[in-house]
């Protein structure tokens, strides 16, 4: 069933019943200020030109759409096309959003930036944008992720950011978000919080989706040039959901294009050792938004698990919750083992080491490609490169 979808956020940033602004009172002035500033920036041609210039000359956009011939042969079905966000400066899609928000912060006169990070990609992208624009940068990161992603911690510090290791809760992404929000509550006058995904209170889900939509716009264009039509399937991994929202959104009205989001099934969907929010969660409130969350009967956030730090999150962007509820996007899940196998397969078949997050989308593409006709085109958003994960994968699989 495909109900009509609302392409843009409605009043107070609602996507159907999801979204909204569930924040402490002290942050209301800030989210309202941000809403006004973003609306003004969006209508301002010079803002858009400056961002486009940075995306071209600094990030290296447009990112290529690469036909993965050996992987397609291996799967024996659809032609697999990789949208190479891993080739962006800093190695992931995150930079599209951090440059946009850092420019906006500068425009708002806020010289101090805070961010949360899980895998470290958003932290690196934020530290990068801040270095490029001369802004102060503080990144919150769970202690467990600091351990898993030591290289990214070093990269952030090298670029002048302060990395604060968060000891509370599960010591991962969720707790880093809590700590960043606490910082923001006390520093809101001079600080902008660059949320790294399509989550949090309005206007963040809409704004981050807009900044990431460059991925989907380019993909449409490149598909038209390459194959003379739109692809049959587009797939992307979903933690908070920013790379997926970025590639899906420009295809939302093309109902002939199947859109598939791939969540982290961890050690499997039976039990609790997973992070498959949409597959296993229910409506709830977390981190400023009404969305689908993993929580217990009392409303306490459930512990989550994924081999990839970037998908290790008990919520999901509210627009994904809506796309799921309305039936426009399919959401599936890939396990840790499937992701690790895909990580190795893409490395061997194409000489491309994907991020462990991205490997979940590769895993699902490999699963379905053989069941699609050879004439079909299957686009995978290759959201990030996997250098950061090599040490952890070597530890898990041996071979270091």
């Amino acid at each position: 069933m495909t109900q009509p979808t609302t392409p843009s956020a409605t009043q107070r940033g609602r996507f159907g019943p999801f979204g909204g602004q569930y924040v402490p009172e002290v942050l209301m002035a800030a989210v309202r200020e941000l809403e006004r500033a973003y609306d003004a920036a969006r209508a301002d041609l010079t803002f858009q030109e400056e961002l486009d210039g940075l995306l071209r000359d600094y990030v290296g956009r447009p990112s290529p759409l690469y036909a993965a011939r050996r992987l397609s042969e291996h799967c024996g079905g659809a032609q697999i096309l990789l949208k190479r966000e891993d080739l962006n400066h800093t190695g992931a899609h995150k930079i599209n959003n951090t440059l946009g928000q850092a420019l906006l912060a500068r425009r708002m006169g806020k010289r101090r930036i805070i961010a949360e990070t899980g895998a470290g990609q958003h932290g690196v992208a934020t530290a990068t944008a801040c270095a490029a624009l001369g802004l102060e940068c503080v990144v919150y990161m769970g202690v467990e992720d600091v351990r898993r992603q030591a290289l990214n911690v070093y990269r952030m510090r090298l670029m002048g950011a302060t990395v604060i290791a968060v000891e509370s809760g599960q010591r991962t992404l969720k707790d880093a978000i809590n700590e960043a929000m606490r910082d923001w509550m006390g520093s809101v006058g001079r600080t902008h919080y660059i949320i790294g995904s399509v989550m949090g209170p309005h206007p963040f889900p809409t704004m981050v989706r807009d900044f990431q939509s460059v991925i989907g716009r380019e993909t449409r264009e490149q598909c038209r040039e390459r194959i003379g039509r739109l692809p049959e399937v587009v797939t992307a991994c979903v933690g908070g959901g920013s790379n997926a929202a970025g590639i899906f959104f420009p295809f939302i009205d093309d109902t002939g294009v199947r859109l598939i989001g791939v969540e982290a099934a961890g050690e499997g969907l039976i039990g609790v050792r997973h992070a498959a929010t949409i597959s296993r969660g229910r409506p709830g409130v977390l981190h400023g938004m009404m969305t689908i969350v993993l929580q217990d009967d009392d409303g306490q956030t459930a512990p989550v698990h994924s081999v990839s730090a970037g998908l290790d999150y008990p919520g999901v962007g509210p627009e994904h919750a809506w796309w799921h509820t309305s039936g426009r996007v399919e959401y599936v899940a890939a396990t840790d083992d499937e992701a690790l196998a895909a990580f190795e397969l893409l490395s061997r078949m194409e000489g491309i080491i994907p991020a462990l997050e991205t490997a979940h989308a590769i895993a699902h593409a490999v699963k379905i490609a053989g069941h699609l006709p050879r004439s079909a085109a299957l686009v995978v958003n290759l959201s990030g490169r996997g250098d950061k994960d090599c040490v952890e994968v070597a530890r898990l699989r041996g071979g270091a």
Binding site: V26, S168, G189
Partner: protein, 269 residues
Amino acid sequence: MNPLQAEFARRRDRGERALLPFITAGDPDCDTTIEILTRIPPDSCACVELGIPFSDPIADGPVIQASFARALDSGFRVANLLDALRAAGRSIRVPLVAMVSYSIIHRRGVSPFVEQFAAAGVSGVLAPDLVIEEADDLRTAASNSGLSTIFIAAPTTEPDRLQRIAAASDPFVYLQSVAGITGERTGLPPELPAGVQRLRSAGARAVCIGFGISRPEHVRDVCRMADGAIVGSALIRRLNEAAARGERGPSLALQIEAAVRDLATGLTG
């Protein structure tokens, strides 16, 4: 009029200021919480802010986080608290306001939540992560159950929103003294009296101030300008210290009672 509204009306008539202690429910266990609540002196305390432990309390500092985490680690469940409150009945002599994340309210369902809490003897509800714009469901349900709703005003709250907050908060508005998270602070900000005045001009029935109040002198200073002083982290720090030593039950409750009575000296000083 529920007991909380009656209490504020009585104090308004007599010109009496009040202390509003914050206590974590279920830390270290629900029996101890009830023991503490029965010992809260009703002459100095207008109500207790009963904090419902939440896994992700973004508005709270490390002291209250630690207390919430300990309660959850020891198996806190909302149903157990409701049972304990019903069993305690009239032995708790002060009105109760549940301070509770909207995540917890929403999971139970807004109407069941307010009905169950009202039936357990709770008079009011304050959700620190629910702004007035998102609160229509809660306000309707609370009003149907005779439960008060209390909202927070912050130093950053824009003037157009103060009136809505004041109108929706009965019998008092919770004025957050500083931007930031809960926790003890050394002094009160100089612009606080102006903040109280803005809120009274916006129509607040009563104004109670929280965040950073930890000593009897703070209580005294706050009550020169406002109707009540809310004390959280300073009490919970003692709860943390005692619970860390393995104390629970009456001996711990006596220590909290002593701390409350000490803070209450600021009301007469």
